[in-house]
Amino acid sequence: MKDIEKETYKIISEVSENYEKELIKKIKEEKDKDAFFKLVKIYDRRIYSLVYRFLGNKEDAMELTQDIFVQAYKKLHQYRGDSPFIFWLQRIAINFCLNKIKMDKKDLLKKAESLDGKPNFLYSTYKNPSDIVEEKEKNNFVRQCLQKVSPTFRMVVILKDIEGLSYEEISKLLKCSLGTVKSRLSRGREELKKILFKLKDEVNEYEM
C-alpha cells in the first residue's frame, strides 16, 4: 500500500468520517473557525503536496494552498456531502492550479525563465550525490523533473501516480473523457520517464 494511502487511512481512522462531517456541520452552521482549522489540519499536507508538485514553487504553492482553503471556507455551503470531502477539495485545488498556470503563461517574464537551459538544481542541490538519499531530496528531484512535463500531462500524472486516484475519478475531476485521461497519462509518464532517467544519468550516482 502506498505511503499516502497509508497515512490518509491512518488519519481518517483516527478522526473518523463522522468527525469530519461534524466539523463541516459546525462550520456551515456556526462559521466555527476552530472547526475549520481542524478540518484543514486533516488535508493540509495532501493539498499542499499536490499544489507544490504541480507548481514547483514553494512560495506560490503555499499561497495557493491557503487560497484553496479560504475558497473552501467560503463555498462550504455548496458542499452537499454526496462525494468525499477530499474529492471536493481536490477539485478546487485543481481549478486553482490550472488557473494559476494560465495566469503565469501570460506573464512573459516567467515564461522566458522556464525556457532557460539546464536546471540549476543539478549543479547546486545535487552536486554531492552522497547527500541525496534523504526522502526530502527525492521529493525535490521528482518535483523538479515534473516541472519539465507540460502542465496538462503533469496534472494527470500527479493525480494518478502520486495521489493514487483511478482513471474514472480523474476524468470526473478534470471533466474530460476516459480516453483523454489515458492518453494524457501515457504521454505524461513517457515525458517524465525521459526527463527523470536523463537527469538521473547526469547526476550519476543518484539512487532511487
Binding site: 502506498k2 503536496s49 507544490y52 491557503q66 521528482v142 502520486i162 482513471y167
Partner: protein
C-alpha cells in the same frame, strides 16, 4: 506488433487497462524485444518512485497567513472598503463632500433665490386646491392672478394646463392671497407653514386644482 505501438500502450499495460487481445500481444512482444522490456522496467520504476513519494513538508508560516486570510474573508464588505480607505482619506473625502454641499446650496441661493422659496431646504410652494366646481374655481383663480400679478416680466403668471397654474406674487401679498384662495376651495395644510412668515420677495406658487365630489 510493432515496438512503436507497444510503447504507446505500455502505460495502460502496467495499469492493466488494455483490452485482453492487446495485452496478450504486448506480453508476447515483451518476451522477445529487449528494448521494449527495458522501457517497461523504466516505466514501472518511475511509477513505483512516484507512489512511494512522501508528503511535502508544510511551511511553518502556512497557518499564520491562513488565519489572516480567513479573518479577511469573514470581514463584511463595508469594513473592507473602510480598510482600503484609511481614516485620513475618509476624512478628506468627508470634508470634500461638505464643501461641495455648501457650494451647492450657495449657488442655489444666489441664482435661484427669486424664483423659488426654500423653507428648511424644502419648497413649500406647491398648493393643492380642492373644489367641487372646477370651472368656477378656474375663473376665480384667473381673477386672482390678474389682481396679484407682479410687475416684473419674468414672473408673469403662466397657465400650464387647465388644472395647473404657476403664479408669482409678492411676498407681502401672500397672506391676502391665501385668504382669497381659501374661498375658492379647500387648501392643503402645507400652506399654513408659509402663512406665519413674511416674504418681501416674489414667491412662485405651483397651484393645482383638484375636483372633489359633493358631500366629501
Amino acid at each position: 506488433m510493432k515496438c512503436k505501438v507497444v510503447r504507446e500502450n505500455l502505460s495502460l499495460y502496467i495499469d492493466e487497462k488494455c483490452e485482453v487481445g492487446v495485452r496478450e500481444s504486448i506480453r508476447k512482444h515483451l518476451e522477445k524485444c529487449k528494448d521494449c522490456f527495458e522501457e517497461l522496467s523504466k516505466l514501472k520504476h518511475l511509477v513505483s518512485v512516484l507512489k512511494e513519494l512522501p508528503y511535502e513538508e508544510i511551511p511553518e508560516e502556512f497557518y499564520i497567513d491562513l488565519d489572516k486570510k480567513i479573518e479577511y474573508a469573514d470581514t463584511p464588505l463595508w469594513k473592507k472598503v473602510y480598510l482600503i480607505f484609511n481614516l485620513k482619506t475618509a476624512l478628506v473625502m468627508l470634508i470634500g463632500i461638505l464643501i461641495g454641499m455648501i457650494i451647492g446650496v450657495g449657488i442655489v441661493n444666489v441664482f435661484f433665490k427669486d424664483s423659488k422659496q426654500f423653507i428648511g431646504g424644502r419648497n413649500y410652494n406647491h398648493v393643492v386646491v380642492k373644489t367641487p366646481d372646477l370651472a368656477m374655481a378656474s375663473d376665480k383663480i384667473d381673477e386672482l392672478r390678474k389682481k396679484y400679478k407682479t410687475e416684473s416680466e419674468q414672473f408673469t403668471a403662466a397657465k400650464i394646463i387647465p388644472k395647473r397654474y404657476t403664479i408669482v406674487i409678492n411676498g407681502n401679498d401672500y397672506e391676502n392671497f391665501v385668504k382669497e384662495l381659501n374661498k375658492v376651495g379647500f387648501l392643503n395644510d402645507k400652506i399654513m407653514v408659509l402663512k406665519q412668515q413674511k416674504y418681501p420677495k416674489p414667491i412662485t406658487i405651483d397651484l393645482e386644482l383638484e375636483e372633489i365630489k359633493e358631500g366629501e
